[in-house]
Amino acid sequence: MTALLPRRGLAQILALIVILAVDRVVSPQFFDLRLQDGRLFGSLIDVLNRGTPVALLSLGMVLVIATRGIDLSVGAVMAISGAIAASLADSHGLAVVLAAALGAGLLCGLWNGFLVSVLGMQPIVATLILMVAGRGIAQLITEGRIVTFTSPDLVWLGNGAVLGLPVPVAIALGMLILTGAVVRGSALGLLIEATGGNARASELAGVGTRAMILAVYVWCGVCAALAGVIAAADIMGADANNAGLWLELDAILAVVIGGTSLFGGRFSLILAVLGALIIQTMNTGILLSGYPPEFNLLVKAVVVLAVLLLQSPKLPGLAGIAARLRRAKA
């Protein structure tokens, strides 16, 4: 399990601490927690709760990116699964609703994986297809309306609590542990990193690279579908136009902040989720600070730049230049 906690997480942890400290400054009650009706409340819990969809997306995305791929369709898959869940919620039990929604995500992942691994399409193009078409499919399912539901089971999924934690947070935690156990507990992690690092060499070493690539897209689809169900449960309805909109970009960002290269190879599940939390901590902080939300995007860009600079292997070189400049002045 040491592989789950890599040595290289320092930049991300530092960034999170700095952002948390800034949040504390702009909102003095930021770290306050209180227990009410068996559920914890407070800004920190809010960060975790709001960050859940992107954290779930990044769990799938990080594996896809590790194989040197990318999945642009996760936002659209969220819309599809949300639409299915909302449409079925009041007429079927939770098990059926979940099975249908997650099954749809699995099919979406299979489609992406088929295009990439069997037909050999470029991932960015292959998943663009579903990114565009998926939202259309979701709109067909909801017939262009915002579908609302009242099923208490599904509402609980978005708003209930387990052991004091909001259910979405518990689910995300569970998925992180499950994914970690599957990926690092089996040989999958090594074989994914080998495939992403050098697919030709891995294939010649007997690695089933096609199956590996298919599997990560499927898992990415399932994670996205789960995020879609949670997002729908949260607002007790499905809006095919806006559910998961642009979240694929946040998920990619989370993975990149988490230190996984878009060129594939080494990946870290925990740091990808940490990346998602960094993004959400910023979002929440800006909301609390009372600055207009327009600042959100700018601040996000600056923080991303800072984290990436900290990770850059060329940074010592930059530091060297700075030191030389100082010496020259002195």
């Binding site: 040491t2 507990g185 089996s186 040989a187 999958l188 090594l190 074989l191 990193e193 080998a194 690092g197 050098n198 030709r200 060499a201 891995s202 294939e203 010649l204 070493a205 007997g206 690695v207 089933g208 190879g265 080494r266």
Partner: protein, 515 residues
């Protein structure tokens, strides 16, 4: 080399060029002389330094040492474009033109005839037509270049280069994708250009063509100049020896002499095995405790044979057997499952996973063979890595170092370790000693012998003939993508291998003569 009193003034003079990439010395004090109006073949096996030399001359790579003189004046182009302006043009095998533009646009790219800022299309087409007519080509110059054959594209590229007032024309494997008739057209154009005083450098591995077209030959091997000869007075056998052999010393098989010829058990056999357009069907038996060497020139089908045997390429005919039982070898996974291992020639692109550690690279094939659900624990991985780092003396002896940071020789050992960890019955090694320093070179050869003594079957490809002679029990000779000869026991020596490789050329020339 010879005739330092050169009666013909030289057009392009290259003196003492050296070039290193990191620790690898790609060129060491290479000289090259091109006369005006001659066709000069530049020959050598893979990794000999031909491409590097061309790229240094044309400024694509900066050189470490040496000078280049063109028409007596020193030139030092910093880019291919600067070289072109100086009068040195290069046409690569993959034509560097724009297939979506018209032939005329390609010819006048960057220098279209203009009037008031508008390209004069008609004028450009007329001039393109005239230009190509000079090369015996009468085609619609308004059609996209991509709609024409590779031969036409080559001629277009040459026409463009010559029209840009090139004095030196470098053709890098121009005939590789041309048919016989197209080669004739190209050769006529080359002769015509040479007649106009242009010096032509012709890089090719088709020796028949070299003998047909070239006036002189320069041979490189391992980044060094081997010699410069007049084509007419250089026997084919001698040329091949220059390209392959280290020296004329007759190395005989140490193994054949010392080991008794015992009947060994067949490990894997291939009957009438082949793939259309890849390698002609061959029969091959690989036995336990035996090294079979594959010898032949570049492009003779050595690597292709290795890939078919391992399963990296799918055969379309023939039967493969492992320990007597028929098997299917369609993918590398099939090969691995049957206990085969393959160290490819291109270590960086096909072998190592540079970002992963030595440990991860070593256990990769074993883990792939065991399957997902039976992961090697970290302890097992550490133990395997430690064992092979020690056994093969991999340096630095740190299993957690990314393998990309190791030297070529150590990377090769990591690849060997990867396969040894799977306890294979057959190992296929493609140029296991290429690009490796002398020390590691000897170690790898010693290792090949040790493995063989342990009962492994080995199929080894090498361009170093004396190396093949040293460790092989049998040598299969390839030529033109077919297995043409098999040498065993006493018959294994450099002379016989060279004779087998060269035999065809003479036959082919005779055949051409009759036709």
């Amino acid at each position: 080399m010879e005739n330092s009193l050169d009666p013909v003034p030289s057009l392009l003079e290259v003196r003492g060029i050296s070039k290193s990439f990191g620790a690898v010395r790609a060129l060491q004090e290479v000289d090259f002389t091109l006369r005006a109006g001659e066709i000069h073949a530049l020959l050598g096996e893979n990794g000999a330094g031909k491409s590097t030399l061309i790229k240094v001359i044309t400024g694509v790579f900066p050189r470490d040492a040496g000078i280049v003189r063109l028409g007596g004046a020193e030139v030092a182009p910093r880019s291919a474009k600067a070289a072109l302006q100086a009068g040195i043009a290069t046409v690569y095998q993959e034509v560097n033109l724009l297939p979506n533009l018209s032939v005329a646009q390609n010819l006048f790219l960057d220098r279209q005839p203009m009037r008031f800022g508008i390209v004069r299309e008609a004028e450009m087409r007329r001039r393109a037509k005239t230009l190509l007519a000079g090369f015996g080509l009468d085609i619609d110059v308004a059609a996209p270049l991509g709609s024409y054959s590779v031969a036409v594209q080559h001629v277009t590229a040459i026409a463009r280069a010559v029209d840009l007032s090139a004095r030196v024309l470098i053709l890098d494997e121009p005939t590789a994708s041309l048919d016989r008739h197209e080669v004739e057209i190209l050769f006529n154009i080359m002769r015509q250009l040479a007649g106009r005083g242009i010096g032509i450098v012709f890089v090719s591995h088709f020796l028949d063509q070299v003998y047909e077209i070239s006036d002189r030959i320069t041979v490189l091997r391992n980044g060094r100049l081997v010699g410069e000869r007049e084509t007419a007075s250089l026997p084919r056998l001698e040329l091949i020896r220059m390209m392959l052999g280290r020296e004329l010393a007759e190395t005989t098989s140490a193994r054949a002499a010392t080991r008794e010829h015992q009947a060994r058990e067949v490990c894997a056999s291939f009957e009438n095995y082949g793939k259309a357009g890849y390698v002609a069907p061959f029969d091959l038996e690989l036995r336990h405790g035996e090294v079979v060497g594959l010898a032949g020139l570049l492009g003779s089908g050595r690597t292709e044979t290795a890939r078919l045997v391992f399963g990296a390429e799918r055969a379309d005919r023939g039967q493969a057997r492992v320990e007597g039982a028929s098997v299917r070898l369609h993918t590398p996974r099939d090969g691995v499952r049957h206990g085969f291992g393959y160290c490819p020639e291109e270590r960086k692109t096909d072998g190592i996973v540079a970002d992963l550690t030595v440990r991860e690279n070593i256990v990769l094939a074993l883990q792939a063979k065991r399957g997902l659900h039976r992961p090697l624990s970290r302890r097992e991985q550490d133990e395997i890595a430690r064992r092979y780092v020690k056994m093969l003396d991999i340096r630095p002896a740190d299993p957690e170092r990314p393998v990309g940071l190791l030297s070529g020789g150590n990377q090769q050992k990591v690849l060997l370790a990867r396969w040894l960890a799977t306890s294979p019955r057959l190992l296929v090694l493609d140029e296991p000693t290429r690009g490796i320093d002398v020390g590691a070179h000897a170690e790898i050869i010693r290792l090949i012998r040790d493995l063989c003594d342990d009962g492994l079957a080995l199929l080894v490809i090498s361009s170093e003939l004396d190396e093949i002679v040293t460790y092989s029990d049998r040598v299969v000779v390839l030529r033109d993508r077919a297995h043409v000869d098999e040498l065993t026991g006493e018959a294994i020596d450099v002379t016989n291998i060279l004779a087998a490789i060269a035999a065809d050329g003479a036959a082919a020339v005779a055949h051409e003569g009759r036709a």
